[in-house]
């Protein structure tokens, strides 16, 4: 009996529980913040996939939600504002064995960092990008964000927001992302499933999450989403780009689930292939000198 147990420990990897991914650091978010729900869903998803903390890296930028890597027992990279995707790309290309997950907010990803977003999508780098979208700047205490709705009153839009809001799902789809989904922080089991699917997906996977800011956003509240959020019906074909785009069109109701999912070679696979083809046994700079003689 004892022998069997020893063998099973050695041959079967430990099944990690959600709590095993929790670090000693307590989150600094306001009570009721949607980000707690996202963090718990992430723990569940990691447990479902039994991710090895030593081979997982969480990358973030700046903002309330970007503090997340510190709350998880994995490797983490908490960089500067808006640069999650380049850093995550560098990590994945340096070591494709790692599971790389970018996290951050709508300001970090869709405002200051937006320039990187379509490029990560079109490259189809095999990373997951979870954006905790609260349609407001929380850490700086209540300014408009690119996903704030028109007419929204914030400290910097006292007469109401005169800009139209960015649609991250549609942008991801047209940019070439191969997995595009939306979740809601108050549906943790559903969100955990989506995140697990996103991590499992080979290629660039966006998970945009409604994660209400209870302190500074008095419009997109939990009450607001009640009755407006619904699960995408099974009849939706996620490989159909145009139905995905239509589904992502704003109409006052918010479908959650997987909008779009297709397969395309990933950046890291293609680069690995180039390396395999180009690699020479014992390469030396000595050979390169010949060109200059």
């Amino acid at each position: 009996m004892e022998t069997t147990q020893t063998i099973s420990v050695e041959t079967q990897p430990t099944q990690r529980q959600p709590k095993d991914y929790k670090s000693d650091l307590e989150p600094i978010w306001c009570p009721g913040c949607g980000d707690y729900g996202v963090l718990n869903a992430l723990f569940k998803a990691m447990s479902q996939l039994n991710l090895d903390p030593d081979k997982t890296v969480l990358v973030s930028g700046i903002g309330c939600s970007s503090r997340l890597p510190g709350f998880v027992v994995t490797y983490g990279f908490h960089g500067v504002h808006g640069r999650v995707l380049p850093v995550a790309t560098g990590i994945k290309l340096a070591n494709p064995e790692l599971t790389v997950i970018g996290v951050g907010g709508d300001g970090d990803g869709y405002s200051i960092g937006l320039g990187h977003f379509p490029h990560a999508a079109r490259r189809n780098i095999d990373i997951t990008y979870i954006v905790m979208n609260n349609q407001i700047y929380g850490l700086t205490k209540g300014q408009t964000s690119p996903t704030s709705s028109p007419q929204f009153v914030t400290k910097t839009t006292p007469f109401g927001n005169v800009e139209s809001s960015l649609n991250p799902l549609q942008l991801a789809i047209v940019s070439g992302a191969t997995f595009v989904a939306r979740g809601y922080s108050s549906m943790p089991n559903h969100l955990a499933r989506i995140i697990a699917e996103a991590i499992r997906h080979p290629g660039f996977a966006l998970v945009d999450v409604f994660s209400p800011c209870v302190t500074f956003n008095k419009v997109q509240t939990y009450d607001y989403y009640k009755g407006r959020v619904y699960e995408i019906p099974d009849t939706h074909d996620p490989t159909d780009k145009f139905s995905a785009l239509r589904l992502a069109e704003e109409d006052g109701m918010f479908p959650v689930g997987i909008f779009y999912r297709v397969d395309r070679p990933t950046l890291d696979e293609q680069i690995a292939m180039i390396k395999r083809q180009a690699y020479t046994e014992n390469p030396s700079v000595e050979q390169l000198f010949r060109r200059y003689q």
């Binding site: 030593d54 081979k55 983490g76 908490h78 500067v80 560098g90 990590i91 290309l93 990187h116 390469p283």
Partner: protein, 579 residues
């Protein structure tokens, strides 16, 4: 240019897009393969086509330190280039010009050789594209090089385009060669021959040497964004690095380039980017992150001329302040500057080593004149710079690893994702030893001094090995302290000044931060006056020297877009000596 020794300068000027650069590069390679030393300079308009390209090569049978102060042969292929450069042609020099294109007035004391280059190319060869080969043939004949040497380079250059193209270029080469043979006095060739050809040399420019050095130094990841004059580093690495198991990425901008580099470095690769001033400006925030979060990274800045867009194709040493001080608040970094083409090969290896060992960004300041200076260098010694690996911790238990452990040297063993039980979060937020955000005054003091202690350790352990002193400073009337690409021209100017009776010496630190203060102060104490020449307007290095050492130097800061001329520096040395 008279006498038994070879030492002359050929300047080529022509319309951009007409192959002047490739003519210059072919001529340079031919002469170097014949055993001569070469030293080039080039400048070209920022536009792809139109405007005048200038290429200059100095050829000698002895070591060359600068592109010279005179022009012995001027080859004018367009009118604008002729007008702009004819005044530089030294008395006794020769003008070879395209008589189809360039109206030439009478020039006293110069030998004038009209060659209908366009007509020969069009009528005889049937392709205007061969104009530069006609010119190459003409120059080779005039200086006294065998036509076979031109054939070899023509074949090598054009064989990818097929036999027909090679043959056309052979014809063009011979046509130019024969034209000069029949129409010019070739009785006093400028090439006087060499005793023997040293096969163990490379004909290479600064960017190429730096590229090969980086590959040899174990570069595993490169990301960059195209920018003149740094782009050729990325272009050279792209086909090579995968053979060595590395990755080259063209990023969407310089911010992303450095972001990728930091990500790859964090994940364990030796990583680098190369850019020029505008790109370095964009990278500043993440250079600070690398200093604060202690992530190795090498950032090469091939400086170009001017502020803002400035003079993208000219040279300058104007980014020193940005490299030294481009940071909000304070975080440690290293700044280094190669002083010659040969040095580019070795210094980049040191830069990669230092980044890895001390876990911080290392900025390497090259410039356009050095990057595109093609010259002959001894074949590099592959064993000279031993590889330093990153210091990593023993496997541990998650939650117990002190990533930023306070140590005597300031260096804390750095885990790489995948290493068991060492998961941590690299962060730019102020943190304690365990990487947890911490805001106490005591912690800030302790962590900042830990990070800056690494610079002190580096300074004490290694900075002095990067100092070179030329001449004997003891009792020198003028002691020059310079940095970067000007070393060669300063050495030549010193020789000229010494010949006029002025004793001088020069010190070049290849590491600027941490500055080898002790050696610099010792040097300054031995010389009567300190002169600091640099290619910028405000005297950035002179100001930095004063701040670091208290040395009051005489600043010779001149921003012209072109490298220094040895005569100009010699005159300045003499002026300072007599002050």
């Amino acid at each position: 240019m008279e006498g038994s020794r070879t030492d002359f300068v050929v300047r080529l000027a022509g319309e951009s897009g007409e192959g002047v650069l490739s003519l210059g590069e072919m001529l340079t390679t031919v002469l170097a393969r014949l055993g001569y030393e070469v030293y080039t300079f080039r400048t070209y308009p920022a536009e792809i086509k139109g405007g005048t390209v200038l290429y200059q090569v100095r050829v000698a049978d002895h070591l060359l330190l600068s592109y010279g102060s005179r022009v012995d042969i001027f080859v004018a292929l367009n009118e604008e280039g002729y007008r702009e450069n004819i005044a530089s042609l030294s008395p006794g020099g020769t003008l070879i010009y395209d008589s189809d294109n360039v109206p030439v007035q009478d020039l006293p004391d110069r030998c004038i050789i009209p060659v209908p280059i366009g007509t020969i190319a069009k009528k005889e060869i049937g392709s205007v594209l061969t104009k530069n080969m006609v010119a190459l043939g003409a120059i080779l004949r005039y200086v006294g090089a065998p036509v076979e040497a031109g054939e070899q380079i023509a074949e090598q250059t054009f064989k990818r385009k097929g036999e027909e193209v090679v043959q056309k270029n052979f014809q063009a080469l011979h046509a130019g060669y024969n034209y000069i043979d029949q129409h010019a006095d070739c009785s006093r060739p400028l090439l006087k021959g060499v005793e023997q050809i040293n096969p163990d040399r490379l004909i290479i420019n600064g960017n190429e040497a730096l590229t090969l050095g980086a590959v040899h130094g174990g570069l595993g990841f490169y990301a960059g964004y195209p920018i003149t004059p740094a782009t050729d580093i990325m272009e050279a690495l792209a086909p090579i690095l995968p053979r060595f198991g590395g990755v080259v990425m063209q990023a969407e901008d310089e911010i992303a380039a450095l972001g990728m580099v930091l990500g790859a470095s964090y994940a364990g690769k030796r990583a680098m980017t190369a850019t020029s001033g505008p790109g370095l400006s964009l990278m500043v925030e993440q250079i600070n992150l690398a200093g604060q979060a202690e992530i190795p990274a090498v950032i090469v800045d091939v400086q170009r001329g001017g502020a803002s867009t400035g003079l993208p194709t000219k040279t300058a040493q104007g980014d020193l302040n940005l490299a030294l001080y481009g940071v909000h608040n304070e975080s440690p970094r290293v700044v280094m500057a190669p002083t010659s083409v040969e040095d580019c090969f070795y210094l980049i290896q040191h830069a990669l080593n230092i980044a890895e060992r001390y876990q911080m960004p290392v900025i390497v300041l090259s410039d356009q004149s050095l990057a595109h200076r093609r010259c002959t260098i001894p074949k590099p010694d592959l064993a000279r710079v031993p590889r330093w690996e990153r210091i990593t911790p023993e496997p541990g238990t998650n939650g117990e690893y002190a990533r930023y452990a306070i140590t005597e040297t300031g260096i804390s063993p750095m885990a790489i994702p995948g290493m068991p039980g060492l998961a941590y979060t690299a962060t730019g937020i102020e943190h304690n030893e365990y990487s947890d955000p911490t805001y106490t005054p005591e912690n800030l003091q302790a962590m900042k001094s830990k990070r800056f202690r690494k610079l002190q350790t580096l300074g004490e352990e290694y900075a002095e090995q990067f100092v070179r002193i030329w001449g004997d400073p003891e009792g020198a009337e003028v002691g020059i302290i310079g940095w970067g690409s000007t070393e060669g021209v300063i050495r030549e100017a010193m020789q000229l000044a010494q010949a006029e009776g002025v004793k001088c010496s020069a010190l070049y630190p290849k590491i600027l931060l941490p500055l080898p203060v002790r050696m610099i102060e010792e040097f300054a104490g031995k010389v009567k006056k300190v002169l600091v020449p640099e290619k910028n307007f405000t005297g950035e290095f002179a100001a930095y020297l004063r701040a670091q050492t208290g040395i009051h130097s005489i600043s010779y800061a001149k921003d012209t877009g072109l490298p220094f001329d040895p005569e100009e520096i010699k005159n300045e040395i003499i002026r300072v000596a007599r002050m």
